[in-house]
């Protein structure tokens, strides 16, 4: 029916909305049928838990895979932090986990670089892209817009399984004899292209590239699904301007992903060509291991452009979902509407647009034309404006609220704090003139860990604590949540705040040891303190793991709307049935933020509740 209409129709508005309606109806009809048929066919273990097409199950799969990858990634950082603080000392812990690569428990330089590289890759892509976006886009999009499931459950399933395969390949690469990829998570050639330059650029790098290529495909399939679902499957009354900010964040994130991830794939493909088929896209004039290589005419700078065309938007792919989750959690727990809803949407869009034209600020001193540097400084500093708007809006939302200090709320407030602290130093790094001296120092490491690493992780935790009842029908333990937050919050600042200053002292990142430079001897104490906090922070995540996995089985049974939230997901039954709502899909009558609205008895009004006579929609 839909296709017929499209064939005849031209893009008039009426036509579009009728297509739209038809699509929703046909989808609902289809889903209704699925639900009917469910009474006859019982799902098997395989269709329910493994090759599931249900968005709620897929989101749990993303989350748990992400958590496992996160454990690996964080643990790696703890190991290499030990090497930085106590260079070339022997640890039985290092010997136990890194085994044959080590001599008597001392980490060797190649292994150090491998750990740094894989830590970055895992955290950025596997935890904060797939683990965060994958989990919450899948869980929340159908629930918050009022749809039975994703537009294509099948593609959704494929998306998860490709992510799973890419995770497995990445983990396998850790066990390659010459070690995993070690050229930094940015894998700049020629280092990443030449096994003569570093052993990890052999088989380890090949597996890295294969894994990432599959990852990009997974991400694209997922993103397209999110976009289509949000645009086409909103329930009756759910105008774009009534969407919760989580939806806006996930929607725009998916759009950025679709725009920029393919470029990473092409960058990786050309690198594969250079490595395996002798082309010279990125390589030229190379003399290594006593011989001149045949490569001629390529440029590593091309790779940097292609890489950062994804790499920078990637920051926002990681961050925007976290900010979306935070908006929702802060509004709910402040019992106040999010301040400046439209300004928030505007900022998300502005950030998304600007994020695609600032990639050059990673390359001010790459050798590209200095004039380009000027342009990128300009666009980069502009991005501070929408970011500032977001920060101020969060703070104003708290003002005169009635703050409910649930663990999710604590993490959201923590996010706003680290987002500001980390974001502000971006003003230094985005300024090409200042970047010269802090580029690739620990100042950068501190900056991006706070603004996108810690912030996004906080957003992820906020989301997990907040929507755990929706995922498992049980509540997480509050007390453990509090312990988890406070130790993490103290440790995170303990690690990354002093780190700015050793960067300002000129300490380059990715140094296996700083002992070769007496110049940096006075930084060693600070480095020890940082490592202590890192070990504390890493270890404290065990509290979360315990809480998460034990609560799945032993948590207190959840009520339907534990946080007294207004959005649609809290109108579904606690058990989380296939198709989400047992009867008809609810219709939406108002925006998502009617908290403490005058004229209502309760301090929240569900989105499904019709406007009273004479009541104005905000």
């Amino acid at each position: 029916m839909v296709e017929k209409t499209t064939n005849h129709g031209r893009s008039s508005k009426i036509r579009y909305s009728s297509i739209h309606r038809n699509l929703i109806e046909s989808q609902q009809l289809k889903n209704q049928k699925t639900i009917m048929s469910e009474h006859h066919h019982k799902e098997t273990f395989v269709t329910k838990y493994i090759f599931s097409q249900d968005h709620k199950m897929i989101s749990k799969q993303f989350l748990i895979t992400g958590i496992i990858m996160g454990v690996i990634g964080v643990f790696m950082s703890m190991l290499f932090r030990m090497q930085i603080a106590w260079p070339e000392q022997s640890f039985s812990l290092i010997e136990a986990f890194l085994g044959s690569h080590q001599t008597d428990g001392v980490m060797d330089p190649d292994m150090y670089l491998a750990l740094v590289t894989i830590h970055g890759t895992i955290m950025v892509f596997f935890v904060l892209t797939a683990g965060l976006s994958g989990t919450f886009s899948n869980l929340l999009i159908p629930l918050q817009i009022g749809a039975r499931d994703m537009a294509s459950g099948f593609m959704n399933m494929i998306s998860y399984w490709m992510f799973f395969i890419s995770s497995v390949i990445m983990v396998i690469s850790l066990f390659v004899e010459a070690g995993p990829a070690s050229a930094g998570w940015t894998i700049y050639p020629p280092l990443s292209a030449l096994p003569q330059a570093i052993p990890g650029s052999g088989m380890g790098m090949t597996l890295w590239l294969v894994s990432m290529a599959i990852f990009v495909a997974s991400s694209l399939i997922g993103s397209l699904n999110y976009i289509v679902t949000i645009l086409n499957l909103r329930t009756k009354g759910m105008k774009m301007t009534r969407l919760p900010l989580t939806m806006w964040a996930f929607f725009i994130t998916a759009v950025i992903g679709v725009v920029s991830f393919p470029v990473l794939l092409s960058a990786a493909l050309l690198l594969i060509f250079d490595r395996s088929f002798g082309t010279s896209f990125y390589l030229s004039d190379i003399f290594i291991s006593g011989e001149v290589l045949h490569y001629q005419g390529g440029s590593p700078v091309l790779f940097e452009h292609l890489f950062w065309f994804l790499g920078h938007p990637e920051v926002y792919i990681v961050l925007l979902p976290a900010l979306g989750i935070t908006s929702e959690v802060i509004a709910t727990n402040s019992r106040k509407p999010i301040f400046g809803y439209r300004a928030m949407i505007g900022s998300i869009m502005a950030i998304a647009f600007l994020s695609t034209i600032v990639w050059g600020h990673h390359m001010f001193i790459s050798g590209m034309n200095p004039f380009l540097g000027s342009v990128f400084t300009f666009t980069t500093l502009l991005i501070a404006i929408p970011s500032a708007v977001k920060g101020f809006n969060y703070i104003t939302t708290l003002w005169k609220g009635n703050l409910q200090m649930n663990p999710a709320m604590l993490f959201s407030i923590g996010l706003v704090s680290t987002f500001i602290t980390g974001g502000l130093t971006g003003i230094v790094l985005g300024d090409s003139a200042l970047d010269i001296n802090v580029h690739d120092t620990y100042f950068v490491v501190a900056h991006f860990h706070l603004v996108m690493g810690v912030s996004a992780i906080y957003g992820m935790y906020a989301g997990i604590y907040h929507w755990f009842p929706k995922m498992y029908g049980r509540m997480m333990d509050k007390t453990l949540g509090y312990w988890h937050f406070w130790i993490t919050a103290i440790a995170a600042y303990g690690v990354f705040f002093p780190m700015h200053f050793i960067g300002l002292a000129g300490l380059p990142r990715r140094y296996y040891s700083n002992t070769a430079f007496p110049l940096f001897d006075d930084l060693s104490d600070v480095n020890v303190v940082i490592t202590m906090f890192a070990l504390l922070g890493g270890a404290s995540q065990i509290i979360f793991l315990v809480n998460f996995f034990m609560s799945i089985y032993k948590g207190k049974k959840a009520t339907q709307n534990p946080w007294k939230s207004t959005t649609l997901e809290w109108t579904t039954p606690v058990e989380g049935i296939h198709g989400n709502w047992p009867g008809k899909i609810p219709t939406v009558e108002r925006w998502a933020y009617d908290y403490s609205k005058p004229g209502h008895d309760e301090d929240f009004v569900m989105q499904t509740e019709p406007l009273k006579d004479g009541e104005e929609e905000s």
Binding site: D108, F392, T396, S524, V546
Partner: protein, 355 residues
């Protein structure tokens, strides 16, 4: 096997945390039995999984304490870590850089101080109380306008000054009679080549690398004969230096933090950067900031029984380049022009080296 042991310990600790946490929810309570006698019982108090008024109070106050702790951390880092910072810029071009940095940092500091204060203070002040209703305050165009325009104006200023500084540093076309030096990177050391009497570097390419001609100077190029290859960089004070960077294998980055100078070395292309040294090595050693920093370092070194450290300018590699990336350095000596030229004269030229 040891790894399994560690994992086992972690799991045991994890389960312990859960159990201890559960135990704390059991409370001693006094109940009445049928005979109306007091009976002490251990009962599980039903914990509410959602924040109560008490939780709001506790964690609201924690946020306030956290804020104070954070202020102390900021203050400590700003004032006490000052001794480990880099000393004043040793290049003329770096002065603007230092200035711009100071302005940016003061601005950032003020905003950081204010916004973190508001954020945590509000978290404390408006911690939830039962039966209180929050203020329904969804929008204010006036406020939005204020905090859109103020950052815009401030940033416009910063961008303007930043771009001026950037152009001042990067524009080498106006340099009068500069000294041209090639800095050559390879895994894992630095070499350099002075342009010689004609102040023009001879062509270089990795395909010319042969024996002692380790940086691939084209010996058929007449400009190359008088070039001077060296392993230690000497710079004259007060003269504009134009560096040309090359790399023979992977990306490196020539980082000279004291001069606020850095540029990547890219195989297959020549990149450039320039600055004018302001203080000789000797003068820099006498600078107050340097003296404080060096004393601090030597105190640590003495405690470890290591030789005392004397300040020197350095060229470091600051782009991951392989196993010994962490130890790829070259000493830089800045001296008066006369001393520089007499040093340079003593170094053999390419023609003399290669023959």
């Amino acid at each position: 096997m040891l790894a399994l042991f560690y994992i086992f310990i972690a799991v045991a600790v994890a389960l312990g945390i859960w159990q201890v946490n559960k135990l704390t929810s059991y409370r001693k309570t006094i109940l009445k039995n049928d005979k109306n006698e007091d009976v002490v019982a251990i009962a599980k108090s039903e914990e509410n999984p959602i924040a109560t008024e008490k939780d709001n109070d506790i964690h609201g106050k924690f946020f306030f304490v956290f804020l104070i702790g954070f202020y102390i951390l900021m203050g400590y880092c700003l004032f006490f870590l000052n001794d480990i910072m880099l000393p004043e810029s040793a290049s003329v071009e770096g002065e603007n850089d230092d200035n711009l940095f100071l302005i940016s940092f003061v601005l950032i500091g003020i905003v950081q101080f204010a916004t973190q204060g508001l954020l945590f203070y509000f978290s404390f002040k408006y911690r939830g109380i039962n039966n209180r209703k929050a203020l329904f305050y969804a929008d204010s165009h006036k406020l939005e306008l204020i905090w859109t325009t103020i950052p815009t104006i401030v940033l416009t200023g910063l961008i303007g000054y930043g771009l001026y500084t950037w152009n001042d540093i990067m524009d080498l076309s106006t340099a009068e009679n500069p000294i041209v030096i090639e800095v050559y990177a390879q895994q894992f050391n630095w070499q350099a080549r002075y342009a010689g009497a004609d102040n023009t570097l001879g062509r270089g390419n990795v395909r010319n690398i042969k024996g002692i001609n380790t940086i691939g100077v084209d010996m058929t190029d007449v400009n190359g004969a008088d070039d001077v290859p060296v392993r230690e960089l000497h710079l004259p004070k007060g003269r504009k230096i134009v560096f040309k960077f090359r790399s023979q294998d992977v990306l490196h980055s020539a980082y000279m933090p004291h001069f606020r100078a850095q540029m990547n070395c890219v195989p297959g292309m020549v990149t450039e950067f320039g600055f004018t040294p302001k203080f000789t090595t000797e003068e820099m050693r006498m600078q107050e900031e340097t003296v404080i920093k060096v004393n601090g370092i030597n105190k640590i070194r003495k405690a470890k029984g290591e030789d005392p450290y004397v300040f020197d300018y350095l060229l470091l590699c600051n782009k991951i380049c392989g196993a010994s990336h962490y130890n790829m350095q070259m000493k830089i000596v800045v001296e008066e022009e006369a001393a520089f030229y007499s040093w340079l004269k003593k170094q053999p030229t390419m023609a003399e080296v290669v023959k």
